[in-house]
Symmetry: C2
Subunit: 238 residues, 2 copies
DNA sequence: GCTGTCTTTATGTACTACATATCGCCAAAT
DNA sequence: ATTTGGCGATATGTAGTACATAAAGACAGC
């Protein structure tokens, strides 16, 4: 059997790609939109024209268009046809961000990503910080002390406010989307120990205006999480 | 005209939601998968069963399934039906991350996001840094000095390596996906000034083992970009 | 010049039909 | 008895037809 020689190769024999027409049409449409340099508001050919042009049934074209529609790349109005729109880049992200779907490794990766964001945040935070912002943070920190016990909601409110202060809406939404992952990972951890620096402590550091002091405070605040990240870089045998 | 009274209300008269059957079925299927607590490998009912159960045509079900298939939530095999899979969370992200589709505000947001990541990176980088890693970075830095002129490719190689060293594959891929946005934003900037600290300088700081010194070096390296972010937090009149 | 109606047209949905791949079963061969 | 090969059943993939619906554009009426 000459076919056997293929298997004997070092190739990892990945499954043969079973591309369906809808997949191909989707890719072709993407390419089409790119090459034609369509801008938001421009309208595409009709479904029938696309189907005929591509030599497939209208059904297939509709499946492909349905995908683009879900991603927010196009919108369709009844008679006018389909128009190009600006997709919400986080909208599609949201659709697959469900803890039940994600493997644990990826969830830990995302958790680390959050820690990185948090530690880099001061450089965006300080230039845009106002007295009003500080007051809001103080209020949230006070509520934390009032309830005393570890409230995940308060945690979310405080850190969420930090992102909000940056004025970077994409960043803020990104953080919001990642929240369920954080919550899930935290439930995986045995004892929810708190860092030495509380939210009130962070606010005090903010008020000093010392960015690096604040960053070190944040590091202390997140210390319990960082301490858990002891798995080394995988695949690196150096 | 009594209809006018509606407009006079404070409601922002958002466009009537024109949900198509495919949209609804997509949502229902998502819900279905969640509630049934499906795990990867489990198989869904057939298209006909779903269509009959939902009271819609097979066409509509197929459009919805086509979307889930694109996101990698399900896979379909010829006779076995459809099986749940673990989606690649960044795969869908990739599909909408095209500079021609994204408005400039979002692109600037993403650019800032990159800066935040970069500044937070040391806390993930240092615990996992090896001598071999340093050697690789040195090599890249040397190639930069050899070519002398500002090479975007070298920039990508160096910073990409930093992400790679973290061993966080999701983070690394995320950064890779964002690269086209960075490249685009940089082309928007008039003069591509370089920071005071070069890549070689960063490697030297790495070798000292002083995390904070490295972070400050990174800040200097990125200074030209940070200096451009002077638009204040929008909507905040405080 | 504005308003209301009518026609046209493209999408949304349903249904039928058939090709194709594959799973499971059963029989035949070793 | 285990394996191999073929056969039928079945679910997806694709094509095509038909019709409802909404909306854009034209046109007539005031």
């Amino acid at each position: 059997m000459p076919a056997m020689s293929i298997l004997s190769a070092t190739h990892d024999l990945e499954p043969i790609l079973n591309k369906t027409m809808a997949d191909i049409v989707e890719a072709r449409l993407r390419e089409f939109i790119r090459n034609k340099n369509y801008k938001p508001g421009d309208s595409l050919p009709t479904e029938m024209e696309l189907a005929e042009g591509l030599g497939v049934s209208r059904n297939v074209v509709r499946e492909a268009l349905s995908r683009l529609r879900m991603l927010g790349i196009i919108e369709t109005r009844k008679k006018r046809g389909m128009v190009i729109t600006q997709p919400d880049i986080l909208g599609s992200f949201e659709k697959v961000l469900d803890p039940i779907m994600i493997d644990e490794t990826t969830m830990r990766d995302i958790f680390e990503l959050r820690l990185v964001l948090e530690m880099g945040l001061p450089d965006l935070l300080f230039p845009r910080l106002t007295d009003a912002h500080v007051a809001e943070l103080e209020k949230i920190a006070r509520e934390e002390q009032a309830t005393d016990n570890f409230r995940i909601q308060n945690e979310i409110a405080f850190h969420g406010k930090l992102y909000e202060i940056t004025g970077n809406n994409t960043l803020k939404r990104f953080q919001s989307l990642l929240l369920p992952i954080f919550a899930y990972v935290i439930t995986l951890e045995e004892k929810p120990t708190r860092g030495k620096i509380s939210h009130s402590g962070l606010v005090e550091l903010l008020k000093t205006g010392n960015k690096e002091a604040f960053r070190q405070g944040m590091l202390e605040h997140l210390r319990p999480h960082f301490d858990r990240l002891e798995h080394p870089a995988p695949g690196e045998t150096a």
